[in-house]
Symmetry: C2
Subunit: 405 residues, 2 copies
C-alpha cells in the first residue's frame, strides 16, 4: 500500500465526462490498495474566464479580491470530482486549500507556502477516504484566502506529498513523460525513465514546459519523488529522482525555447556601474533577463546583448530607451527571431568536452551560435529561430540520445 498524491491539470478535467474518467482512474488505484490524495486544477479555461470577468468589472482589480474570485474555480472542480468518485462507490471528500492545511503568507496572487497542517487530510485517509484537494489555493494564518501563482496546483501537490510523506507525487498531464527532446521536433526522441531534479530544473528553465521550476525546486529541497505521466493512459511516465548511476549518462536531454527575444544596446559607455544601472532598471520593471553577452565594440564602448521573454520585450525596450542617453548608448535593437537550445545532463560535471561536441555539432549543421550560457550541468546557445529544429536534431544525434543507455 502506497500513499499517492496525484495532480490533474485543467485540461484533464475540462468537462463532466473527463471528470468521470479521472474519477475512474483514481478509484481503480484506490481499489488496488493505495491511499489517494488528488489535487485538482480548475476546469479547462475557468481561470482565464474568471480573469476576463474581473476585467469587465474593474480595469485593475485588487489582488485580495482576485484571489477570492480565482479560488472558486478549483472549488467547482474539486466538488465535482468528489461527487464523481462517490458515484463509483468509495468514500470521498473535497477540501479547500484552507481545509487541507496549506498555510501561506499574505502575498495575494503569488503567495508562498509557509506551513503545512494536513491533519484533516490524514484523518480522512485513515478512514479509507479518497481526499480531493483544490490546487492553487491556500489560506493565511488570519483566514484570508490566497492563490499560489503560476503552477500553483503543482506546488500544492508537491507540498502535500511532502507533508503527508507520500511515496510519490504524480503529475498527470497531456504528455507521457519527459523526453530526450521534444518529440514533435525529433521523432526519434526517447522517453526517459528517470531525470534528476537538477536536470529537470535546467530543462524547465530552458523551455521544457511540462513542469514549472517552482514545484521541482520544492520537490528537490524536500526529497519528494515526482512522476510525470499521462492522464490518458497507464504508461509508467518519468520519475524525477536521483539514482545511483545517473552520472554515467553525460547528456540527459535537449531542451529548446522559442519564446525568447534578444535586445542589443549599442556603444554603451565602458565604465564601472553601467551594467548595474541597465540591469537594475530592468529588474525594477520586473523584466526577467536570461542570457547576457557583452562585446567590445570600439575604444571606450561596448555592445550589451541580453535575452528576455518575448512578452516582456516591450517593457525591456522602453526601459533601455529611457536610460539610453544616461548610459551613453547610441541605439537599442530588438530581435524576436531568436531561439534557445540547451544540452542538459548531470554527467557533464565529470565528463569534459561536452561543450566542444555541442558546438561542433551545431557548426556541422550550419547553425550559427549568437550567445552562449553555461552552468555546471547545462550548455545553452541562442540561435536563429529558423534554425531551432535543425539545432535540436543535431545535438540529439551528437549525444546519441536516440540510443537507450
Amino acid at each position: 500500500m502506497a500513499l499517492v498524491v496525484q495532480k490533474y491539470g485543467g485540461s484533464s478535467v475540462a468537462t463532466p465526462e473527463l471528470i468521470r474518467k479521472v474519477a475512474a482512474r483514481v478509484v481503480a488505484r484506490h481499489r488496488a490498495g493505495d491511499q489517494m490524495v488528488v489535487v485538482i486544477s480548475a476546469m479547462g479555461d475557468t481561470t482565464d474566464d474568471l480573469v476576463t470577468l474581473a476585467g469587465r468589472v474593474s480595469p485593475k482589480p485588487v489582488d485580495r479580491e482576485m484571489d477570492m474570485l480565482l479560488a472558486s474555480g478549483e472549488r467547482i472542480s474539486m466538488a465535482l470530482l468528489a461527487m464523481a468518485i462517490q458515484d463509483l462507490g468509495p468514500r470521498a471528500v473535497s477540501m479547500t486549500g484552507a481545509q487541507s492545511g496549506i498555510i501561506t503568507d499574505a502575498v495575494h496572487r503569488n503567495a508562498r507556502v509557509v506551513a503545512l497542517r494536513p491533519e484533516r487530510v490524514l484523518a480522512e485517509l485513515g478512514r479509507g477516504t479518497i481526499v480531493v484537494v483544490a490546487g492553487f489555493q491556500g489560506v493565511t494564518a488570519d483566514g484570508e484566502e490566497t492563490t499560489l501563482g503560476r503552477g500553483g496546483s503543482n506546488l500544492t501537490a508537491v507540498a502535500l506529498a511532502h507533508a503527508l510523506n507520500a511515496d510519490v507525487c504524480e503529475m498527470n498531464t497531456d504528455v507521457d513523460g519527459i523526453f530526450t527532446a521534444d518529440p514533435r521536433l525529433v521523432p526519434e526522441a526517447r522517453q526517459l525513465a528517470f531525470v534528476s531534479p537538477d536536470e529537470m530544473l535546467e530543462l524547465a528553465s530552458s523551455g521544457a514546459r511540462v513542469l514549472q521550476s517552482r514545484s521541482v525546486e520544492f520537490a528537490r529541497n524536500y526529497g519528494v519523488v515526482i512522476c510525470v505521466r499521462s492522464s490518458f493512459n497507464q504508461n509508467p511516465g518519468t520519475l524525477i529522482k536521483e539514482t545511483a548511476d545517473m552520472e554515467k549518462v553525460v547528456v540527459r536531454g535537449i531542451a529548446h525555447d522559442v519564446s525568447d527575444a534578444k535586445v542589443t544596446v549599442r556603444h554603451v559607455a565602458d565604465r564601472p556601474g553601467i551594467a548595474a544601472r541597465l540591469f537594475g532598471a530592468l529588474a525594477e520593471r520586473n523584466v526577467n533577463v536570461d542570457i547576457i553577452l557583452q562585446n567590445t565594440s570600439e575604444a571606450g564602448a561596448v555592445d550589451v546583448s541580453f535575452t528576455v521573454k518575448e512578452g516582456d520585450l516591450g517593457k525591456a525596450l522602453e526601459t533601455c530607451q529611457a536610460i539610453r542617453q544616461e548610459i551613453g548608448a547610441t541605439e537599442v535593437l530588438a530581435d524576436s527571431e531568436v531561439a534557445k537550445v540547451a544540452v542538459v545532463g548531470i554527467g557533464m560535471r565529470s565528463h569534459p568536452g561536452v561543450a566542444a561536441t555541442a558546438f561542433a555539432a551545431l557548426a556541422d549543421a550550419g547553425v550559427n551560435i549568437e550567445m552562449i550560457s553555461t552552468s555546471e550541468i547545462k550548455i545553452a546557445c541562442v540561435v536563429r529561430r529558423a534554425d531551432v529544429e535543425r539545432a535540436v536534431r543535431a545535438l540529439h544525434q551528437a549525444f546519441h540520445l536516440d540510443q537507450a543507455t
Copy 2:
C-alpha cells in the same frame, strides 16, 4: 448615519455591467453617510448551471459536495462586486459565509443558522469599509461549508441585520415593493408603504413571491425591519414593520397562487385514524399539504380533498393510490386547474364581516368557491384557475384597495 444591510438577488447581478450598477448604488449610499453591508446572490443562473453540471457528473450527488459546489457561485459575485466598488474609490472587502460569521448546523443544502459571530464585519465597518457578504452560505462549528436552502440569501441578510443591529435590511429586487394585489392582474393595485410582518407571512404563503416566509419569520422574531424595494430605481419601497394604527386597515392586500393542485380521495371509510393515516403517509413523502376539506359523501364514507403544490402532485397521487384500499377509498382524483386567492389584513382581528364581504364579492363576480381556509388575519379560497383574475379584481374592489387610506 444608519447601518444598512442590502441584499441583491441573482437577476440584479447577472452581468458585469449590472454588477457595476449595483456598485454605484452602494457607493452612493455609502457617500451619503451610511455604513453598508451588501449581501449578494450568485450571478443570474449560476446556481442552476452548477446544479446541471453536478447532474452530468453524478445522478445523485452527495449533499456535502453540492454545498461545496454551490457556495462557489456567491464567491464569484461577491469578489466581482467588491472589485467594482473599489474601482469607484471606497474601501471594500468581500467575505464568505464563514468569514462573516454565519454559523449553521450540519444539515447540508438546508442548514439552519445557529449562531452569528460578525466580529470581522463589525471591524471592517468600523474602518469605513463596505462589506460584501456571500449570501446563501454558512459554516459549521467544525469548518464545514453549508448552504441555507431556498431563499438563503434573504436569510443571510436578515440574520446579519439582526446580528449587526442594523437600522434596516433592504431587499433589492425586480419589483418596486409590496402591492395591494399583483399589478399584472389588477392595474389599479397600489404599492403599500407598510405591511405588518404577520401580513407579509400570510401574503407570502398565499402566493406573493417577493419574499420567502423563512426570512420574514426570522425578521419578525428578532424585530428586524425589512424594506422591499427595486434594484433599478430610488423609490422608497415597502417597509415590513408593525405601525401603531395598522389595525385600522381591515384588508391590506389580495394574494393569489396558481401553482396549487387539488387531490380528492373519494368514499374514504369514515372511522377514526383514517385522516392520520392519509396525511401521515403524505408527510413521510415530504408532500406539503395546504388546504384540507372533508365532505360527507354517503353513510359511513367521506370525500377528502386537499391542495398541494403542482410539482408535488405526482408524489401525492402515488401515495394516495398506495394506501387507497387500506383506507377504503374508491378512487383518487387530480385537478390541476385550481387557483388560490387570499384576503389578508391584521385589521380582520377586530373587524367582523370580512369573510361575508369576500364571499359576496366572489359570488357577484360569478366565481365558485371550492374550498375555504381561514386564519385570524386571512381568508383563502380555492377557485377555478380560469377565474383567478376575476376573483382577485372583485376582492380588490370590494375592499376598496384602490383607494389610499
